[in-house]
C-alpha cells in the first residue's frame, strides 16, 4: 500500500465533493467544474499538441499535479484489484476446476451468489467518485512511462477497456480547440465508459456463473443477437412479396390510345413493341431502352425491377425479340437474356409449386431444380411426385415425366394423386386407365387389383412380397407403347441417379442460388496465429482433392526455399557461434600466454568451423539472403545444391549449431521440423505430405486472400439424429482466409467483407511470451498485438452485428509451454493465479475426475479474458473454441461449431426460452 502522505493527497482531493451521501451522482457534477479547470490547465500549459510527452521534461512546474495523480491511482488500483478482479478471477478458476470435479449445481449456485456479491461490491466501488476520477486520470497519464502503466494494466479487462476508450477521448480533446467544452465531453464520455464497465460486470459474471451450471449461452445471447440468416431472410422475402406485391400486380397506366406505345403514345397495335414481363407495358423501339434502362433483370420497366414476373410470360424468358436484336448488338442481347433467365427475381417462387399437396420451400425447389433429371418447364401448379419410382405429374392427371427419384420434396404421395379409378395402385397411388393399359400391354399381370411397388430402375413387385416380378422397361415394346399412350419413359441419364445424388454437394450451384445458400466465414488472425494452418487443414478435411497438381508443385517449391532460408539462419548462427568461441579461445589462449609465456600457435579451429568448400557455399547463401534474392534463385537451383546441403547437414559444425537452435531467434519453431527432413525435402522427387503442407509457412499464395467452398460431409451418427440435415447438406460454406496485413492499414478493406456470416478470429495461445515489432516499431507482446487487432476488428463498423468465434489455436504447444513459462509473462494476464491442485501427476489423464491441467485452466482464463473484452466492446457473447491446428478433428470440431452457431442464429426465433436451456452451445467448445 502507498505511504500516508500520498494518501493524504488523495483525501485532500476527495475533499471538495462534499456531498458524500450520493457518491454516485454528485462527484460528476462537482468534478465537472473544478477538475475541468485543473486538467485543462495542465494540458494547456504544455504544448497543445503533445501533452503526453511533455510532462516528463518540466517536472518542477507541474510537480504538484503529477504527484497528485500518480500517487493517487495506485491506491485505487490496488483496492480495486484486491476487491474486484482478483477474487473474481480466482473464483472463476476455481469454478472451472470444479466443473469437472462435480458438476452439481449446488456448488455452482453458491459461487454465483458469492460472485454477485463481489460484483455488487465492485460496482459500488467503481461508481464511487474516487475510483472514477483516478480512472479518468489513468487515461491521461498512462503514457508517461512504464511505472504507471504496469499497475494500471493489472486492473483487469473492464477497466482496461475503459482506459482505451479514454485514450481516444483525450485525443479528441487535444485536437479540438475549445477546451472547456471538450472537457465536458470527455468527462461525459468517461462516465459513459464507466457505466459500460458497470454494466459489463453483470453480464460477464452472469455468463461465468452460468458456466458453472451448464454454459447456457443462448439465454444470454437471445437478447442481444439479432443477426438474421440470409437464407431465413430470403424465405421471408418471399413471404413479404407474396403478401405485398403479388396480389397487386402492377397495372401500367397509359393515357394513350389502345395499342400505342406506353411512353410516347405513338404508333398503333401493328408497330413492333417490347412488353414488360411484370406489368405488361408495351414500348416502341424508340422508347424501350429509356423505359427499361439497362435491364438488369431482363425486359422490365425500370420501375418494375425487383418485382416477380407475370407467370403467364414465363415461357418467354430468355427468348429474344427481333426488336432487341435490331437495337442492340449480339453480346448485349445475350447478356440481357442471360440476366432474364438467371436473376433471382425471375425465378419460380417456390410456394407456387405444390408437390403432393405441400407447397415447396426454397430448399426443396432448389433440390428439385438441381436434381440430375429435373421436371422440364416447371410451371406453378399442383403436382404429384412418386418418390420411389420418380414418376411426376400434374395433380389429377397421368404421369407426365419421370424425374430423379428419392428427392426430399413435398409430402407423401396421396392415393388419389392422379385421380385414377382403376383400383390398381403403384407405390400407393391409384393409377389411371392409360397407365393400366400400358401395364397390360407391357405384359404385367394386373388381375385382382394388385398393389405394385415400382422402383426407379423399373423393377416391380407386389406389395408385401419380396421377389421382383419383372422389369417394366425390360421389353423394347414398352417404351413404344408408352410413347403411343403419351406416357413418360425414363431418360437415359437416370440410370446413374443414385450416385449422382450422393455427391449433390460437390456439384456447382447456379449463380442465382448462391446468394441464399453459400454462407461465408471469414478467418482472420495476426501473422503466426495459424490461420493458414486451419485453412489448409480445412482443405484437406473437406476437399476430395485438397491441392491441385500445380498447387502441390508450388507448395513443394515454397517448402524447399523455406528450407534454404532456415539453413541460412542456421549458417548465420554458426558463423556467430564460431566467432564467439574463437574469441573465447583467444582469450583463453592469451591468458595462457600470459601464464606460460610460450607462444602457442593460434589454432582457429572450433566445433563450429567448417571446411573451405562449405564455407564458400555458406558465405554465398548468406549473401544471397541478405540481398533478398533467395526466392529468385532457390527453388530453381535445388538440383545443383542438394548434395552440398546433404554434406552440410551432416557436418559436425552444423549439428552443433542445430543443437543450440534455441538461441537462434530467427528460426521459427517449425524450422526444426523441416531441417530434420532437409535432405529428403531437397531431393527433386520430393512430394510434400499433408503434414508437411500443414507445417509449411507461406503456402497460401503470396499472403493474399484465399477462399474455399465446402460443405460438411455427413457423419454417420449425425444422419440418424438430424433429418433436417439432409437439407443442411445443401448449405455450402465459404471459408475466406485473410492475412492481417491483407486487410490494409487500419483494416481499410474490412468493409469488403460485410456479407460474411461470421468472423472466425484466430489467436495463437502460445504467443503469450512472444514479442514482435508493431506498427510504431516498438517491441510488443504478440498476445497484446492480437488483442489490439481483435479490438479493431470487433469494433469495426462493418461488423456491428457480426458473430465472432474465437479460435485459441496451438493449444498443444501452449500446454507444453505453460509448464515452463508462466502465463503472467504477458502483461494482460498478470492476474492469472491458478489454484494448482496437489495431485498434479494425475492431471494429464483424461478421466473426468481428474483436475484440469494448467493448460486447460490457462486457456479457459484467456478465453474469459477475451470474452470479457468482447462483451465490454459489443455487449454480446463471444464464442470460443480451443483448437490444435495440426489435429484434423480439432479443426473440424471448431468449424462444425461455427456451423452450429450459424444454425442457431437461424433457428433461434423458433425456440422458446425454456427449450433453449436444453441445449448448450458451449459443450463442443470445451472438449480439448
Amino acid at each position: 500500500m502507498s505511504p500516508t502522505p500520498e494518501y493524504s493527497f488523495a483525501v485532500e482531493y476527495d475533499g471538495p465533493p462534499l456531498g458524500y451521501n450520493l457518491p454516485r451522482a454528485v462527484p460528476i457534477s462537482v468534478d465537472n467544474i473544478p477538475v475541468a479547470s485543473v486538467v485543462s490547465q495542465v494540458s494547456s500549459s504544455d504544448t497543445l499538441s503533445l501533452p503526453v510527452v511533455q510532462p516528463l521534461l518540466p517536472p518542477q512546474q507541474q510537480h504538484h499535479n503529477h504527484n497528485l495523480h500518480r500517487h493517487h491511482h495506485p491506491v485505487n488500483v490496488k483496492e480495486v484489484r484486491t476487491l474486484d478482479s482478483e477474487p473474481r478471477v480466482s473464483k472463476e478458476l476455481q469454478l472451472a476446476s470444479e466443473i469437472t470435479v462435480s458438476p452439481t449445481s449446488v456448488i455452482a449456485f453458491e459461487h454465483r451468489t458469492s460472485q454477485s456479491n463481489v460484483c455488487e461490491l465492485s460496482g459500488e466501488l467503481s461508481s464511487s467518485g474516487a475510483f472514477e476520477f483516478s480512472n479518468g486520470n489513468d487515461g491521461e497519464f498512462s503514457d508517461l512511462g512504464g511505472s504507471s502503466r504496469v499497475p494500471e494494466e493489472s486492473v483487469g479487462g473492464g477497466t482496461g477497456s475503459s482506459r482505451t476508450a479514454e485514450f481516444s477521448d483525450s485525443r479528441v480533446l487535444k485536437e479540438d480547440g475549445n477546451e472547456s467544452l471538450d472537457f465536458n465531453e470527455s468527462n461525459r464520455q468517461d462516465w459513459a465508459s464507466n457505466e459500460s464497465v458497470l454494466s459489463l460486470e453483470y453480464p460477464s459474471t452472469r455468463v461465468s456463473s452460468l458456466k458453472g451450471e451448464e454454459f447456457d449461452a443462448r439465454r444470454t445471447v437471445a437478447v442481444t443477437f439479432n443477426v438474421d440468416d440470409s437464407d431465413d431472410a430470403s424465405e421471408e422475402e418471399f413471404d413479404v412479396e407474396e403478401n405485398v406485391t403479388r396480389p397487386v400486380r402492377r397495372e401500367p397506366l397509359t393515357k394513350g390510345k389502345k395499342g400505342s406505345c406506353y411512353r410516347c403514345f405513338k404508333g398503333n397495335r401493328f408497330t413492333d413493341k417490347e412488353v414488360c414481363l411484370v406489368c405488361d407495358a408495351k414500348y416502341c423501339s424508340n422508347c424501350v431502352l429509356r423505359a427499361m434502362g439497362s435491364m438488369p433483370e431482363g425486359r422490365k420497366c425500370v420501375t418494375c425491377i425487383g418485382f416477380p414476373i407475370d407467370e403467364s410470360k414465363r415461357g418467354n424468358l430468355g427468348k429474344s425479340s427481333r426488336m432487341l436484336k435490331r437495337l442492340l448488338n449480339d453480346l448485349e442481347v445475350r447478356q440481357i437474356m442471360k440476366a432474364e433467365r438467371f436473376c433471382e427475381a425471375n425465378q419460380l417462387p417456390p410456394e407456387y409449386i405444390c408437390v403432393n399437396g405441400n407447397p415447396l420451400s426454397y430448399e426443396e425447389l432448389v433440390t428439385l431444380q438441381n436434381c440430375p433429371n429435373p421436371p422440364k418447364k416447371l410451371k406453378p401448379g399442383n403436382y404429384w411426385y412418386d418418390k420411389v419410382s420418380g414418376f411426376w405429374g400434374k395433380e389429377g392427371e397421368k404421369p407426365s415425366s419421370i424425374i430423379s427419384p428419392h428427392l426430399n420434396v413435398g409430402g407423401p404421395i396421396l392415393p388419389d394423386a392422379s385421380d385414377g379409378n382403376t383400383q390398381v395402385f403403384i407405390n400407393g397411388r391409384e393409377i389411371t386407365k392409360v397407365e393400366l393399359r400400358m401395364l397390360q400391354l407391357a405384359g404385367v399381370q394386373c388381375a385382382g387389383n394388385p398393389h405394385f411397388w415400382v422402383h426407379e430402375d423399373g423393377s416391380y413387385q407386389e406389395e408385401g412380397q419380396k421377389n421382383t416380378r419383372g422389369y417394366l422397361w425390360g421389353k423394347a415394346g414398352t417404351k413404344l407403347v408408352c410413347a403411343f399412350l403419351s406416357l413418360p419413359v425414363p431418360s437415359k441419364s437416370s440410370n446413374a441417379v443414385g450416385e449422382q445424388y450422393s455427391n449433390l454437394a460437390s456439384r456447382t450451384i447456379p449463380n442465382y442460388l448462391e446468394h441464399g445458400i453459400v454462407q461465408k466465414l471469414l478467418l482472420v488472425g495476426c501473422s503466426g496465429s495459424g490461420t493458414s494452418t486451419i485453412f489448409k487443414q480445412a482443405k484437406i478435411l473437406y476437399k476430395s482433392i485438397p491441392f491441385s497438381e500445380e498447387e502441390r508443385e508450388n507448395i513443394k517449391l515454397t517448402i524447399q526455399s523455406n528450407v534454404y532460408a532456415y539453413l541460412g539462419i542456421l549458417l548465420e548462427g554458426r558463423e556467430h557461434f564460431e566467432d564467439e568461441s574463437l574469441a573465447d579461445l583467444k582469450k583463453r589462449k592469451s591468458s595462457e600466454l600470459d601464464t606460460t609465456g610460450t607462444s602457442a600457435k593460434l589454432d582457429d579451429k572450433t566445433v563450429y568451423s567448417i571446411g573451405a568448400r562449405l564455407k564458400a557455399f555458406s558465405d554465398w547463401l548468406l549473401k544471397t539472403m541478405v540481398s533478398g534474392k533467395l526466392d529468385a534463385i532457390f527453388p530453381a537451383a535445388t538440383r545443383e545444391y542438394a548434395p552440398l546441403i546433404e554434406e552440410l547437414w551432416n557436418d559436425a559444425a552444423i549439428k552443433a549449431t542445430y543443437g543450440r537452435r534455441g538461441e537462434l531467434e530467427m528460426l521459427p519453431s517449425i524450422g526444426s521440423y523441416f531441417l530434420e527432413r532437409a535432405v529428403k525435402i531437397l531431393r527433386t522427387d520430393y512430394e510434400p505430405s499433408d503434414l508437411d503442407i500443414l507445417y509449411a509457412e507461406g503456402v497460401t499464395s503470396s499472403n493474399g486472400l484465399a477462399s474455399m467452398e465446402f460443405s460438411f460431409p455427413q457423419s454417420a451418427h449425425e444422419e440418424t439424429v438430424d433429418t433436417a440435415d439432409q437439407q443442411g447438406s445443401l448449405f455450402r460454406y465459404q471459408l475466406i482466409r485473410v492475412h492481417a496485413r491483407g486487410l490494409g492499414e487500419n483494416c481499410k478493406w474490412l468493409e469488403m467483407f460485410e456479407d460474411v456470416e461470421m468472423v472466425i478470429f484466430c489467436v495463437s495461445l502460445s504467443d503469450y511470451d512472444q514479442f514482435s515489432v508493431d506498427g510504431n516499431g516498438c517491441l510488443t507482446n504478440k498476445m497484446i498485438l492480437s488483442r489490439k487487432f481483435f479490438e479493431t476488428i470487433v469494433t469495426h463498423p462493418t461488423f456491428e452485428q457480426m458473430d465472432f468465434l474465437l479460435i485459441l489455436n496451438k493449444f498443444d504447444q501452449f500446454e507444453e509451454k505453460i509448464e515452463q513459462v508462466p502465463l503472467t509473462t504477458c502483461d494482460w494476464f498478470s492476474d492469472f493465479h491458478p489454484i494448482i491442485s496437489r495431485n498434479r501427476t494425475n492431471s494429464h489423464s483424461n478421466s473426468i475426475n481428474s483436475n484440469p491441467s494448467l493448460g486447460q485452466l490457462a486457456s479457459h482464463y484467456i478465453a474469459v479474458k477475451f470474452k470479457r473484452l468482447y462483451s465490454s466492446l459489443t455487449g454480446r457473447k463471444l464464442y470460443v473454441s480451443p483448437v490444435k491446428g495440426l489435429v484434423p478433428d480439432s479443426v473440424d470440431g471448431a468449424l462444425r461449431y461455427a456451423k452450429e452457431i450459424l444454425k442457431w442464429n437461424e433457428e433461434r426465433p423458433n425456440f422458446s426460452l425454456s427449450e433453449n436451456s436444453m441445449y448448450s452451445t458451449e459443450a463442443s467448445s470445451f472438449s480439448p
Binding site: L289, N703, L705, E745
Partner: protein, 375 residues
C-alpha cells in the same frame, strides 16, 4: 561494426533525414507565397457556375448486385468496365446502358479495374494479390464466362490499383498493399520493374492508387498510406523521382492533371491537393468544412480542361471543385437521382463529355450536359 553501433548510426541518420526533411518543408513554406486560388482571385477570376441542366444524370447502369468499387472508360468507344463486390466485372455500353460482358471473377474481392488502350482486354486486381487480365474477344466457356487470359502474380499484398500504360497495351502498372508498384509486361506476365519495396527506397506503407501521366507515359504517380505521393520514372525503378508530402492521412486517390505537369490527390484527411511535378510544390488544397466529422476523399477525377475537379467523399458527397478558385461549385451527391450512399469511383470519358460515377448502391450513373446546345 557491432549491433549497438549500427543502431546508433541508424538513429543518428534517421534524425538527420528528419531534420533535413523539416528544413525542406520550412523552405518550401517560405517559398510558397501564394496558391492558385489566391492568385486567381487577385486576377479577378470568378468561379464556374452550373445551370440546372449543365450536369444531369442521363444514364443509370444497373446490373451489379454489390458495391461498385472501380470503373474505367475505354479510350475510344463508349464502353465502361466496372468492378463490384459481387465478384463481377461488367463491360457496359454507355450509350445503350447495356451489358456487353459480365465476367465472373475467380476472386470476388476486387478493388480495381482497367481497360486496355485498345479496348480489347480488361484488367482487374484485388485482395487475392493478383492482377488478372481478360481478353474480351476470347471465346467463353460453357457457363458463358470469359476465361482469365493471364494472371500477373508476384505482389505480396492486395492489388489496390491498376492502369494500362497509354498506347501500350502490353504494359500495365499496378499498385499494391506490399508498398510497391510494378510495371508488368502483359504478354509474358512477368515484372518489368518494381518501384519501391524492401531493398529500395519507396513508399513506407500500402500503395493505394496510381496514375500514369497522360502526356508522358514514362512518368507515373502513386499515393500511399504513408500520406505521401511519389512520382516515378518507369526507366528508373530504384528510387522515386520526387516525394510529395503534405497530406495528413492515407492518399486514397491520385490522378494526373490533363496537362501532365500536375497531379491531384484525394486523401483520408478529407482534402484534395494539387501538386506540381516540376517544382514539387503543393499548389492548392481543396477542403471544405463539412461539419464535425471530416469525410475522407475516396476518388477524384479532372475534367478534360482541368478546370473542374470531381471528388467523391465517404459520406456520399461528390463535390465539383473549381480548381482555379478552390470553390465547390456543385455537389453531385445531392443532385436529383444521384446515388444513395457513397460514391466510390469516378471516371471521365476520353472525350470529356461524360462523367461516370459508381456507388455503393450497386449502380453506375452517367452524368453529362443535359440541356440543349446552342450552336
Amino acid at each position: 561494426m557491432s549491433v549497438t553501433e549500427l543502431k546508433e548510426c541508424h538513429s543518428a541518420t534517421t534524425d538527420t533525414v528528419n531534420n533535413l526533411r523539416d528544413r525542406l518543408k520550412q523552405k518550401r513554406l517560405s517559398l510558397l507565397d501564394t496558391d492558385i486560388s489566391g492568385y486567381a482571385r487577385s486576377q479577378g477570376r470568378t468561379p464556374v457556375s452550373f445551370g440546372p441542366t449543365d450536369l444531369v444524370c442521363c444514364r443509370t447502369l444497373q446490373g451489379h448486385t454489390g458495391k461498385v468499387y472501380s470503373l474505367d472508360w475505354t479510350s475510344e468507344r463508349n464502353q465502361i468496365v466496372s468492378a463490384s463486390q459481387d465478384g463481377r466485372l461488367i463491360v457496359w455500353n454507355a450509350l445503350t446502358r447495356q451489358k456487353i460482358h459480365a465476367i465472373k471473377l475467380p476472386c470476388a474481392w476486387v478493388m480495381s479495374c482497367a481497360f486496355s488502350p485498345t479496348g480489347q482486354s480488361v484488367a482487374c486486381g484485388g485482395l487475392d494479390s493478383v492482377c488478372s487480365i481478360f481478353n474480351l474477344s476470347s471465346p467463353t466457356d460453357k457457363d458463358g464466362n470469359v476465361p482469365v487470359t493471364r494472371m500477373l502474380s508476384g505482389h505480396k499484398g492486395y492489388v489496390s490499383s491498376c492502369q494500362y500504360v497509354p498506347d501500350e497495351a502490353a504494359h500495365l502498372i499496378t499498385g499494391s498493399g506490399d508498398q510497391t508498384c510494378v510495371l508488368w509486361d502483359v504478354t509474358t506476365g512477368l515484372k518489368t520493374s518494381v518501384f519501391g519495396g524492401e531493398f529500395q527506397s519507396g513508399h513506407a506503407a500500402d500503395v493505394l492508387s496510381i496514375s500514369i501521366n497522360g502526356s508522358n507515359s514514362r512518368m507515373f504517380a502513386s499515393g500511399s498510406c504513408d500520406a505521401t505521393a511519389r512520382l516515378w520514372d518507369t526507366r528508373v525503378a530504384s528510387r522515386a523521382v520526387r516525394t510529395f508530402h503534405g497530406h495528413e492521412g492515407d492518399v486514397n486517390a491520385i490522378k494526373f492533371f490533363p496537362d501532365g505537369n500536375r497531379f491531384g490527390t484525394g486523401s483520408e484527411d478529407g482534402t484534395c491537393r494539387l501538386f506540381d511535378i516540376r517544382t514539387g510544390h503543393q499548389l492548392q488544397v481543396y477542403y471544405q468544412q463539412h461539419g464535425d466529422d471530416i469525410p475522407p476523399v475516396t476518388s477524384i477525377a479532372f475534367s478534360i480542361s482541368g478546370r473542374l475537379l470531381f471528388a467523391g467523399y465517404a459520406n456520399g458527397d461528390c463535390y465539383v471543385w473549381d480548381t482555379l478558385l478552390a470553390k465547390v461549385v456543385l455537389n453531385i451527391g445531392s443532385l436529383q437521382d444521384s446515388h444513395e450512399g457513397r460514391i466510390s469511383c469516378l471516371g471521365l470519358s476520353a472525350d470529356g463529355s461524360a462523367l461516370c460515377t459508381g456507388g455503393w448502391d450497386t449502380n453506375l450513373k452517367i452524368w453529362a450536359f443535359g440541356g440543349h446546345r446552342r450552336t
